[in-house]
Amino acid sequence: MKKTVCIILIITFLLVPLNSCGEIEIVELNERLIIEAIGIDKENGKYNVTIEGLDSYTAGSDSNSVSGEELTKCYLFEGETIGMAMNSISVITGQIPLFSQARVLIIGRDTATNFLSEALDFFRREYTTRTDILIAVADGKASDIVSADFGKNVSAGKILESALKSYKHTGTSVYIPLYKFLNNAMNESDAAYCPLLTVKDNEYTKKKDVKILGTVVIGKNSDTVLSPEQTQSLTIINNDTENGDMTIETEKGKCTLEIIDSISKIKTEIINEKTVFDIKTKIKCDIPEFQSETFSGLSKSDTEKIAEIAAKKLTSMISDTITEFYIDKNFDIFNFNRRINLADNRFYSEQLNKGGNFGKLSVFNISVEVSVRRIGKVVLEKE
């Protein structure tokens, strides 16, 4: 009896919401616009949001072939704010946007330099977007990259994502999800950085290709660009190098070194109002190629010489990058200021109040140790 009463009561209790089921909006997958890539530009005081969306009607149809309709479509939305522009998606496309699938967020360079916090607030605040989306800056307008024709049935979002993930192989670009970018952008003394992209014509396919120009650093209303070589120095210092290669010239020939492991340790000390950074880097390399006049192998002394030259080159690269960006331009992309803060908060706060040019107060001791593991063909030293 008790059980029956209980069940009746629960059913009665559930009748209220069940009767209101008609008010619940059920969105089918084909009513969704699955966002692949987002481009943000600000022009004439208004935001232009370029969206590449997966056309779920075409994706689900039988004509999903090379001869069929395009899998993805690009749309341009305009609004006073990004939120307003996003809200007009449904009006124009007739589909409800699904932001959580977006692969990349591209911001126009001018917009990133001058309106960074405005442009990113929507993505920081709105939970429909994901904070692990990859971010990059377009050299020019973001719309040009998101709407670029990379080929039939090729998603720009996927191509851009693959390009941004190429850091794993080259070591000359950075991999920055939105939360990491925001972490730097929101810090009082950091400069945020991310890859700088452009598109170029492919003369064979007559389509577009994506190209990473380097790394753009966004400061307070100004920006600067690191070349791919300087980006490699940055990733080595920040321990973000997973792979990569470099070329050095020796007396016997030209050598390609493939980085297989890199560890940097930074010790920070404040001595007499000066910050001393001891940067010790250990890099392990393979030699996949050694261009010389003969097909000879490499001896122990050859590899030691190569390692020495490589270490010198890397030391110089790292030193130049630090000097140019941290000391001369005052862009902290290496988290040195955070290290100073951790080492001596009082000193950090004082210097921050004075303008925060920590680079001018810093001394760097850089040492790079390169070891060569695999060389292909070994030659024993002659007595």
């Binding site: 209980c6 939970y127 939360y179 925001l182 988290n335």
Partner: protein, 359 residues
């Protein structure tokens, strides 16, 4: 006489753990954002200390009452006083359950079903909790012991997978604003540990050593919190500082092989945690009320308590700012101190005096 179901100390530990995790990590208290992440991490030390003080008070009162709950001890003084105390605790639990439902709805409607009004989900949650509370503490305890293992493993898995992204430079120096904000924040966090109050009522229902269980719960949760806060700060840095759902933020970042959406996989666990917490609090409010109304049937009392919880939810869930104000209000501090320490100590003191006089 209705048979009282009993649960083991581990099951009770699980219930308390799940309730505390969902309460603290699915909604970071608004005042947390004023503390640098370094100071926030070390706040866990005074939090453990303060909670252990409250635990000592609770254990002392329970020990003095024998194996009775604090309501039974109050009834020993006088029937009317006992009834007043039982109603007070019932209202207290209804209030906390309502706040828990609001927090749950806020979390779900923000991260899982954004921009949605979730009355339906809330009503289903309350219906399920109502049903579970009717089933008694044994059912809640058994469910939570399984769930706590699942949740514990999930949290550990997430922490391990995101530890790759940990950067030492994301951490902040300690004590940059002195000790006072840390202590104030520690007191603030400690007085939201409503689970401590529940021990005063559930003591007779727990088999095993309550003292050891509560102490280990406080210390274990303190260590877990420290670990989560260190990893959150080390992985997300400045970005994590202004996140109101910190554990969710970590799950979004966590990736492991083909499992790229751990936050979606975790969604079910959050819902179940919310269900356990609300069921437990509804059960306690019903249990407290029935201690003063011995002839009252379980079902109508539970129903009234559930409706009360729904009322508190409607009152407190209007906007995120009003919810934050309610959670952060000074009244919450007073409510906790009175129900966890002042009232039990008063009851114990009166009983002590009465015993002395009668001796």
């Amino acid at each position: 006489m209705e048979r009282l179901g009993k649960i083991s100390a581990f099951q009770m530990f699980s219930v308390l753990l799940l309730s505390r995790i969902i309460a603290l990590f699915t909604f970071m208290l608004p005042s947390a954002s004023y503390l640098p992440s370094g100071d926030r991490i070390i706040t866990t030390i005074p939090v453990i200390f303060i909670e252990l003080i409250f635990t000592a008070i609770v254990i002392f009162c329970l020990k003095y009452c024998g194996s009775k709950s604090i309501i039974s001890a109050a009834s020993d003084i006088s029937d009317i006083f006992g009834k007043l105390v039982s109603v007070a605790y019932a209202l207290c639990f209804i209030w906390f359950a309502g706040i828990a439902v609001s927090r749950f709805e806020l979390f779900i409607s923000t991260v899982m079903f954004p921009n949605s009004e979730l009355y339906l989900m809330t009503i289903i949650l309350l219906s399920a909790s109502f049903y579970a509370s009717l089933k008694g503490i044994e059912a809640i305890g058994r469910a939570s012991s399984i769930l706590s293992v699942l949740l514990g493993a999930s949290i550990l898995f997430i922490l391990i997978t995101v530890s790759d992204e940990f950067e030492f430079t994301n951490l902040k120096p300690l004590l940059t604003q002195g000790i006072t904000p840390i202590l104030r924040f520690a007191f603030y966090i400690s007085t939201r540990a409503v689970e401590l109050i529940t021990i005063l009522i559930t003591a007779p229902l727990v088999k095993g050593n309550i003292k050891r269980m509560t102490t280990s719960w406080v210390i274990f949760f303190g260590i877990l919190t420290t670990l989560i806060l260190i990893i959150l700060a080390g992985v997300t840095g400045e970005y994590g500082d202004d996140q109101i759902f910190p554990l969710y933020t970590l799950t979004v970042i966590a990736k492991f092989g083909i499992f790229e959406r751990l936050d979606d996989i975790m969604s079910g666990l959050w819902v179940l945690c919310g269900f356990i917490q609300v069921s437990f609090l509804i059960f306690l409010s019903c249990f407290s009320l029935r201690q003063s109304m011995k002839k009252a049937k379980k079902l109508p009392v539970c129903l009234v308590c559930t409706l009360g919880v729904f009322g508190v939810y409607l009152f407190s869930s209007q906007t995120v700012t009003s919810f934050s104000e309610i959670v952060a209000s000074f009244m919450q501090d007073i409510l906790f101190v009175v129900s966890a320490a002042a009232l039990p100590l008063l009851i114990t003191a009166i009983n002590f005096i009465r015993k002395k006089k009668s001796a």
